[in-house]
């Protein structure tokens, strides 16, 4: 794990050059084609030693801000974090191990949510706690019904 190259050179130019080389004209389009792939894996695909997941995250947010679809972006990030922590879906039993996996995904989500949406994300987390999703729930993208219930689009 070197990773030394991720913070050198023109990061934005590199990111878009890689996205275009894979046949997409935006990061969002690239990510949408892989809706449940964790952020780190998106970064690995774009450059396994010179693209970082948080750079992909920043790029996706910038595009979402331009297209006024930030809420969708916030849901999209949660889908990827859940898929990373809970690849088999929402656990049936919340034992210590599963509780930690859920907590890790939701805590990380909070950290990756932009300031403008933090409060809404907090309410969404409270809703998930109050009414836990069914066992095996595994959102396949930002337009998942349950996700849109707890964090509906505002901009649209």
């Amino acid at each position: 794990m070197s990773g030394g190259g991720a913070w050198q050179g023109n990061i934005k130019a590199r990111l878009y050059e890689r996205v275009r080389a894979r046949g997409f004209d935006s990061l969002t389009a690239f990510a949408d084609a892989r809706p449940t792939v964790p952020l780190y894996a998106l970064a690995d695909e774009l450059g396994d030693d010179d693209v970082a997941a948080v750079q992909v995250l920043s790029g996706l947010l910038a595009e979402a801000e331009q297209s006024k679809r930030v809420t969708r972006f916030v849901r999209d990030v949660l889908v990827r974090l859940l898929s990373q922590s809970l690849p088999n879906g929402w656990p049936a039993v919340l034992d210590d191990e599963n509780l930690f996996k859920v907590a890790k995904a939701l805590g990380s989500w909070s950290a990756y949510t932009p300031e403008t949406h933090k409060e809404r994300a907090r309410l969404a987390r409270a809703a998930l706690r109050a009414n836990p999703p069914p066992a095996g729930w595994r959102p396949l993208g930002p337009d998942d019904d349950l996700l849109r219930t707890i964090l509906p689009d505002e901009e649209a």
Binding site: S2, G4, A6, F100, K104, G107, S108, A111
Partner: protein
């Protein structure tokens, strides 16, 4: 990612952990025999004429015992970190923790070697005091003082446990061992000549000779080479049994395998292992020399372009060694981490990484894209938010391992290599 070199899998982490445990046991064993030698020397009754390593010489014995204390501390730290590593859920974090044992193990290994050399000098001094009434006690005192002075800067560097200082001291060890060997040889030769002049009896002469001859007494110092070898490492050959010089086994194949593991996981550097092999092989020199091993031996020890590349960005890295250090676990939340088990050998000062300041080129990418600018503000905010909100979700305090698990995820997202270096307190 160079995961092949680091060895991504859990099995590889287990093998690395075993190698660290084996290396720790080896150092522990050596240190025990050094300690036993100090104790024995201190307890030796004076001969009928009252000569022994007492009086003004006591300080030289104390000097040894003092070093044993920090050496045991270093071994204790390495053991604590290895235990912490075995509990870490994330494989990369486990390897990161195992890499943290490297400077401590290295310092203990070479510090013990120096103390073994010091034991050799004390044995010789003891033999001189008891068997050579013609020899000047004052001269012996001064000679030992000079030897101590030769070892002192290296011991200070090793005892600092600072990765860069330990590494520099280690790679200079073959040269130091060369100087010590020559000092030992000179002291012995002068004693022999004085005894000849005084018409000493054969038995007394033999007592002094014995110190140099009997391997169980002589712990560390190799024989003085006839003349300094033109090129270091010449004559060292890798065989199925281990590294040989001529027909003599320098280090065993098991030792080589253990070191190969440690080198490939980034726990110990190739130059450090090379220094150990050179010393064991008696390949010491007076002069600062480019200390390199023959290619076959280097490869057996796990040297490869990937490993070298890793070390460039790792703790022994050339370019990165000047880059500023940053706390991965934010300092302003020290107490929060202490309450979750980040204390002692695992306190937050142990978890620092070197990061280049914002690269000039990155400016062209726009302000949001500079790691130097976003660190530590953005990192600190994000890591604390992820930890605090995870804790709120779990409804209980996170364990140290749970914290490390979340930190490992964030480090991967930022592509921060898990090469930790301690914060240097000045």
């Amino acid at each position: 990612m160079g995961d092949g070199a680091v060895g991504g899998g859990a099995r590889s982490a287990a093998l690395t952990r075993q190698a660290v445990l084996d290396a720790t046991d080896e150092v522990k064993g050596s240190l025990r025999s050094v300690e036993a030698a100090f104790t024995k020397l201190a307890a030796r009754p004076a001969d009928p004429w009252g000569w022994s390593l007492t009086g003004v010489f006591t300080r030289y014995l104390d000097q040894g015992s003092k070093q044993v204390t920090w050496l045991q501390g270093a071994i204790g730290s390495a053991t604590a970190l290895t235990e912490g590593a075995s509990e870490a859920g994330d494989t990369d974090m486990e390897l990161g923790l195992l890499r943290m044992t490297g400077p401590k193990l290295q310092a203990a290994q070479f510090g013990t070697l120096l103390m073994a050399a010091w034991v050799d000098f004390l044995h010789l001094a003891d033999a001189v005091l008891r068997n050579c009434p013609m020899c000047s006690t004052e001269k012996l005192f001064v000679d030992l003082h000079r030897v101590q002075g030769l070892m002192e800067p290296t011991i200070t560097d090793l005892a600092s446990l600072d990765p860069e200082r330990v590494e520099a001291a280690t790679t200079a060890m073959p040269e130091l061992m060369g100087k010590l060997t020559r000092e030992f040889d000179t002291l012995q030769r002068e004693t022999r000549e004085t005894m000849k002049l005084g018409g000493q009896i054969i038995a007394a002469m033999q007592a002094v000779e014995m110190v140099a001859m009997i391997s169980t007494m002589k712990l560390a110092l190799p024989r003085v080479p006839p003349s300094a070898p033109a090129t270091l490492g010449v004559g060292l050959v890798m065989s199925s049994g281990g590294v040989m010089v001529g027909s003599r086994l320098v280090v065993s194949a098991e030792w080589v395998e253990m070191m190969r593991r440690l080198v490939q996981a980034g726990v110990i550097s190739v130059p450090a292992v090379g220094a150990a092999v050179l010393i064991q092989g008696g390949q010491i020199t007076m002069a600062q020399a480019h200390q390199d091993l023959p290619k076959g031996v280097r490869e057996a020890l796990g040297d490869s372009p990937e490993v070298r590349g890793m070390q460039v960005t790792g703790r022994a890295g050339a370019g990165m060694s000047d880059a500023p250090k940053h706390h991965v676990l934010p300092q302003e939340h020290r107490e929060w981490f202490e309450r979750r088990g980040f204390k002692g050998d695992m306190d937050i000062d142990q978890f620092c990484v070197r990061l280049e300041q914002a690269h000039h080129e990155a400016i062209h990418g726009g302000g949001d894209w500079k790691l130097g600018r976003t660190w530590p503000g953005e990192w600190n905010r994000r890591i604390m938010e992820a930890l605090r909100d995870a804790e709120a979700e779990a409804g209980r305090m996170l364990t140290r391992n749970a914290v490390l698990d979340i930190v490992a995820d964030r480090m991967k997202d930022y592509r921060i290599p898990m090469n930790f270096t301690p914060w240097r307190r000045r």
